[in-house]
């Protein structure tokens, strides 16, 4: 049977050789291709119906990914043991925009090399399938196809411990990424147990928290001394605001830090804020920041009509924003900064 060649990133399907023989394997492949193509059509048809509401949009993304998982299983056979396919990043936090890249991993029961080989194969298959569906590859390679993110439960335990103990910038960054994980398919106890161990490790070694704070200290300057919003000065985004790094990440990172500190299991930033708001220490401040963060999420979704890719989702042109909106964005940016100052006082025990 001839190899099939992928042609398009947006999942327009496979090029089937004209000379493909009608074997049983060929029929199976044809069936799978049809499955894949119908999934692509389904996703493209329905996706734009959900973008007015962050929650339903993310539920839809979950549905697409679950179907992609099923497709991959159909392709390589059923999993040989208990496992969890989990998502991280914006997907883990249920904060994906209309366009999104991939962030996912696998954890499976430890039953020797056979399992390992199966799940590595599955990891690769899942990554490629999502790519064909329009989810771009993660630049940081946080995907099931990367063995760092595709491990047995025992290996995961060791890896998370190692990350925290090592304490380097990169290892803490990895631990931070993992903390945003959410089970999508399979046994959700795996992720829960790993997170419990993660948080216990932090409780028994509070000094490690400093490393988590250090890891997110860098916040890009967003508003100047004279109240001007800093925009990109060069390149294709010239004159635009990098919403992701200037507005969105400051909130996400700060709230994640507090979640780790206070042992909050939730993954979405909004739910983390809800949980934190119930604590006496944060009941006054967090609701204020939550209000601005909700505005930011809504604003991000409102931009979708003008956006065409995952990358452009993160930028808005200042010139296209009316005065009132600009003021609101400034407030959002300003409070992102303030939130970081707030967690700094928490981190330093002031």
């Amino acid at each position: 049977m001839q190899k099939k060649k992928l042609v398009e990133a947006n999942g327009e399907g496979l090029n089937e050789s004209k000379n493909s023989r009608c074997t049983v394997g060929g029929r199976v492949l044809k069936f799978l291709m049809n499955e894949h193509q119908s999934l692509v059509s389904w996703k493209n048809n329905y996706l734009f119906k959900y973008f007015s509401d962050n929650r339903s949009l993310n539920l839809f993304h979950d549905q697409v990914m679950k179907k992609a998982f099923q497709l991959s299983i159909n392709q390589i056979g059923p999993p040989p043991c208990s496992f969890s396919w989990f998502v991280m990043g914006s997907s883990g936090r249920s904060e994906q925009g209309i366009f999104s890249d991939q962030d996912h991993g696998l954890v499976f029961e430890d039953n020797g090399e056979k399992n390992m080989l199966y799940f590595r194969h599955l990891g690769k298959e899942l990554t490629d399938e999502l790519y064909r569906l329009g989810y771009s590859y993660c630049e940081g390679k946080v995907m099931s196809s990367n063995i760092l993110w595709c491990r047995s439960y025992k290996e995961w335990e060791e890896q998370i411990n190692g990350w925290i103990e090592q304490g380097s910038w990169e290892s803490i960054r990895n631990a931070t990424i993992f903390f945003d994980s959410r089970n999508l398919v399979g046994n959700d106890e795996f992720i829960e147990d790993l997170k419990r161990q993660f948080l216990n490790k932090i409780v028994s070694n509070p000094k490690v928290l400093e490393r988590f704070f250090e890891n997110i200290r860098h916040v890009r300057n967003s508003v100047g001394l004279f109240g001007q919003i800093f925009v990109e000065t060069k390149g294709i985004h010239q004159g635009e605001i990098d919403l992701k790094s200037m507005a969105y990440l400051p909130y996400v990172n700060a709230i994640r830090y507090l979640a780790i500190k206070e042992g909050v299991y939730e993954t979405s930033t909004i739910l983390r804020m809800n949980a934190l708001s119930k604590m006496t220490r944060y009941e006054k401040d967090i609701p204020i920041y939550q209000r601005y963060f909700k505005k930011l999420l809504a604003y991000r979704l409102s931009l979708i009509n003008e956006r065409t890719s995952c990358q452009s989702m993160n930028y808005i042109n200042v010139k296209n924003i009316e005065r009132e909106k600009r003021k609101e964005i400034k407030e959002i940016l300003h409070h992102g900064k303030r939130l970081h100052r707030f967690i700094e006082t928490i981190a330093k025990g002031l």
Binding site: G89, S90, D101, D103, C138, E139, G140, S168, W169, R173, T176, I177, E214, N215, R217, H218, T233, K244, L249, N253, E344
Partner: protein, 416 residues
């Protein structure tokens, strides 16, 4: 006529010393990583600018003003170019020459900040160092202060410029802590290689040539062509320093270490800076040679004590500066000791050595303690002296300035 000649000669000296900043740009950026190159070059220029303004406003007055108290003089603030009595050359040129020295001390100090300090740290410390640290030591030794009265010999600034700068660098390296990746958890040292040894070597050559302005220019006069003798000593010490560093690295490491050779040359230059006008040519060779050996062991000493000094400012300017200052206590000849007394090997006994030792200890301590206090207070008020880990990893060119020093491609870390 002589005044005109003196003025031209010292102006040439000033130009050479200011050009040394270019040597430092190449030396420092070549000895560090590509991702920080633009930042290092840019901060050298801006701190030279700030140092110049501060020197004009208060620095010159504190050093060369009417001796007012134990620490500083207090006249000629905001010097406007008028002729000051008692000098055989244009006062404006003398001012420029001294300004060049003050800014070199500042640049040496910043060697200890490399690859991890915030740009704002450089800006603020430039001002405070140029007001509080450098002028006091310079006044004590060159401006008629108490060490000058004791006959302290420091012809062109082994103590005043190099040791003072190195002590500030030491305070900074302690407070800033080592760069990410310099030391492993078990305490072992990793080499963080500079990105361009050709830059470093070219930087050393420019400094070497600039040193003729630094040392020979410090004669402030063309009378009897004495500056030629000073230049000769300067060159011999530099050569001996490079050669000694080559030998010691060959003997100890089994390889001729290029970085070590370059630092050996600089150490020879730093060491001869105090003694270039007071010692014979053969002594200059010995002083430079010993400096080349010392710098080798000093670099290892600081490295093993987890003091991360990217440009080796502590060894090249500190250790060699101490040795150079003390060396006149041994080698100053009867004929040449126009300041202070002859050294131990020329029948002067231990007197001059004692004066030199006092000068080194007091000046070094003053520069270190005051710099440490300044930086400590800055650290508290500025929410740290250092960039965040993420910025350090990205590199200061991008994170501090948003541009590339080189059009290199840096992989974007992401968490989304």
């Amino acid at each position: 006529m002589e005044m005109v000649m003196n003025t031209v000669w010292v102006m040439l000296g000033a130009i050479l010393v200011i050009l040394m900043q270019g040597g430092f740009i190449l030396l420092e950026s070549g000895s560090t990583r590509m991702k920080n190159a633009g930042h290092i070059a840019g901060k050298t220029i801006v701190t030279f600018g700030i140092g110049s303004l501060v020197f004009w406003a208060v620095g010159y007055a504190f050093i060369f003003g009417e001796h007012a108290n134990f620490f500083v003089g207090l006249s000629h603030f905001f010097y406007s170019g008028y002729q000051i009595d008692g000098t055989d050359l244009s006062s404006s040129v003398f001012f420029l020459f001294q300004l060049a020295f003050a800014t070199i001390a500042l640049t040496i100090a910043f060697g200890g900040f490399a690859e991890r300090a915030k740009f704002s740290t450089y800006v603020i410390f430039s001002i405070l160092f140029s007001v509080i640290v450098y002028p006091v030591v310079a006044h004590w030794i060159w401006g008629g202060g108490w060490l000058a009265e004791h006959g302290k010999q420091d012809f062109a600034g082994s103590t005043v410029v190099h040791l003072t700068g190195a002590m500030a660098a030491l305070a900074a390296t302690i407070l800033l802590k080592p760069r990410i990746g310099k030391y492993n958890k078990d305490g072992s040292v990793n080499a963080i290689y500079g990105h361009n040894q050709v830059f470093t070597a070219l930087g050393v050559l420019i400094l070497w040539v600039g040193w003729f302005g630094f040392n020979a220019g410090s004669t402030l006069s063309v009378a009897d062509g004495f500056f030629g003798f000073v230049a000769l000593n300067t060159n011999l010490a530099a050569g001996a320093g490079a050669f000694a560093a080559l030998l010691i690295s060959w003997l100890v490491l089994g390889k001729s270490d290029i970085g070590m050779i370059l630092n050996g040359a600089l150490a020879g230059l730093v060491a001869i800076t105090a003694s270039c006008a007071f010692v014979s040519a053969w002594a200059a060779v010995i002083i430079g040679f010993i400096a080349g050996i010392l710098v080798f062991y000093s670099m290892r000493f600081f490295d093993n004590r987890k003091i991360d000094d990217p440009i080796y400012a502590l060894s090249v300017h500190g250790t060699a500066g101490v040795w150079g200052t003390l060396s006149t206590g041994f080698f100053a000849t009867k004929e040449l000791a126009t300041v202070g007394s002859p050294g131990l090997f020329y029948g002067g006994g231990f007197h001059q050595l004692g004066v030199q030792l006092t000068g080194v200890v007091v000046s070094g301590l003053y520069a270190f303690i005051v710099s440490f206090v300044i930086l400590y207070v800055m650290k508290k008020l500025m929410n740290g002296l250092r960039v965040t880990e993420e910025e350090e990893i990205i590199g200061l060119d991008l994170s501090e300035h948003g541009t590339y020093g080189y059009p290199e491609l840096i992989a974007k870390e992401k968490i989304s």
